[in-house]
Symmetry: none
Subunit: 219 residues, 2 copies
DNA sequence: AGGTGTATGTCGCAT
DNA sequence: ATGCGACGTACACCT
C-alpha cells in the first residue's frame, strides 16, 4: 500500500470523460495495482480511480494508468507532501451475517414460518425471466411462489408478479399464488401486493435464527 | 484528512452485522467525519466504513463510531504504525461528459434510426408517473413511446410498460405502442419486451454519432 | 468470458 | 425526508 498526499490535477478518458482541476488530494495505490484519488470529503468513494488489472507508467511529474479496456487515467503531479509505503500482507477478509442469501437459506429450511403447512418444492426454481427464490406447495397442494428480500419494496412485488404471470402459463403448476417475504415491507409494497392478491410476511430474523438453532439442537 | 496505518480488528452493526479479524490496515478519516477502513487490495471500496454524519468516540485502544440511524462501527486498535494529518481545503470537484442524456439527444434528432419513417412529437413528454424519453408517430400516425437506456434491463421494460399503461388511458393518444432502445439489451429484457409486444432496438452509438456528424456537415 | 442479481450500494434530483 | 433512476456502479455467482 502506497499512500501519497500531493497537489495534482487528473483526467479520465474511458466510459466517460472527466477532469479534476488542481487541488491537494490523496492517492492510494494498493498492492493489486489499483489507484484511487480521494478528496477530503464525499464519503468513501474516490473522485477518480482505476481498478486492477492496469498498467502504471510513473514519471517524475505525471502518472499514466491504462487498463486493457482502453481506459486512461492521467495524474499530473505538481507537488508531493508525503509519500509512504507499507506492507500489509493478506487480509483475512470479513464475515457477514444476515443477508438475503441467509434469509433464503433459513426460510428454505423452515417454510412453515411463512405459512402453516407450507412445504418446499424447489429452491432457486429457474425460469426464463429469472430464478424464483422458493417454490412451495400449501396444505391444499396449490403451488406457491415465494420472493424473499431483506427490505421489501415495490420492485420486489413487481418481480414476484412477473414470476407469477410466467408460472401461471405452465399447466403443470397452475394456479400459482405468491408470498412476498422480507424483514421489513414498505407500506406501498404492502398495498400493491394486496391489490394483486399476494400475501406479505414480515420476517423476524432473530426468531427465525432461533428456530434454526433449535433444529440444530434437535437433530 | 487523517491517515492511519495500524493493526486492528473491526466490527459493524447496522444494516447487517460483520466482523473483521485483526490485520494491518489503513484508516481514512476525512474532514466531513466519515471513516473508511481499507485493506491493501479489493479495488477502491473499503472493507468497512461509516459516512457522515456520525459521532466518533476516540479512546486509546478503541474508536466507537455511531450515526443517527443507530449503526455502530467499533475499531479495536492493537498497534499504530503511522498517523498523519493534512489540511486539503475544498476540492473544486469534477466535470463529466457523455452519458444517457447524449444518447437521448442523438435519437431525438434521428428518430428514423429507431424505425423507418418515425418522427418526433415530444422529447421528455411529462406524465404523472414520470417523463417519457421520446414520444413519436410512426408512418401510420400511431403514437410510439420510446424508452432509452445505456444498458437495457428488465427494469427498463417495466418502466416503459408503466408508461404505456398510462398513455393508453389517454383517448387522444390511444393506441400507443412502445420501442425499447439501448446500446445493449439483456436477453431476459428482450424476452419480456417480446412478451409485451414492445419492440427492442440495439443502438450502435458510434454509427449514431456518425449520422450526427453527417447531419452537421450537410446542414 | 459473459449474463444476472445484490449492495451497509452511493449519488443526485425530484416531490 | 423520501422515492426513484443512474452509475466509469462494483461484486459475487452462475453458465
Amino acid at each position: 500500500m502506497r499512500i501519497i498526499v500531493l497537489q495534482c490535477s487528473v483526467s479520465y478518458e474511458g466510459r466517460l470523460e472527466a477532469y479534476l482541476p488542481s487541488a491537494k488530494r490523496l492517492i492510494l495505490n494498493k498492492s493489486d495495482g489499483c489507484v484511487a484519488i480521494h478528496a477530503d470529503g464525499g464519503a468513501y468513494k474516490p473522485l477518480m480511480w482505476m481498478n486492477a488489472p492496469n498498467r502504471i507508467i510513473e514519471n517524475l511529474d505525471e502518472w499514466v494508468i491504462t487498463n486493457p479496456k482502453g481506459e486512461k487515467l492521467r495524474i499530473k503531479i505538481e507537488e508531493i507532501f508525503s509519500d509512504i509505503s507499507y506492507e500489509f500482507g493478506d487480509d483475512p477478509g470479513l464475515t457477514k451475517d444476515g443477508v438475503e442469501a441467509h434469509l433464503q437459506e433459513l426460510l428454505a429450511e423452515n417454510p412453515q414460518h411463512l405459512e402453516s403447512g407450507l412445504t418446499l418444492s424447489k429452491r432457486e426454481y429457474f425460469t426464463e425471466i429469472g430464478p424464483v427464490d422458493l417454490l412451495c406447495r400449501d396444505t391444499n397442494g396449490i403451488a406457491v411462489a415465494v420472493e424473499i428480500k431483506r427490505k421489501g419494496g415495490i420492485d420486489g412485488v413487481e418481480q414476484l408478479t412477473r414470476y407469477l404471470d410466467y408460472l401461471n402459463k405452465d399447466p403443470k403448476l397452475r394456479p400459482v399464488r405468491g408470498i412476498f417475504a422480507a424483514q421489513q415491507i414498505a407500506p406501498q409494497a404492502k398495498t400493491l401486493a394486496k391489490d394483486r392478491e399476494i400475501s406479505t410476511v414480515e420476517i423476524d430474523y432473530d426468531e427465525l435464527r432461533g428456530m434454526e438453532s433449535l433444529n440444530l439442537r434437535l437433530f
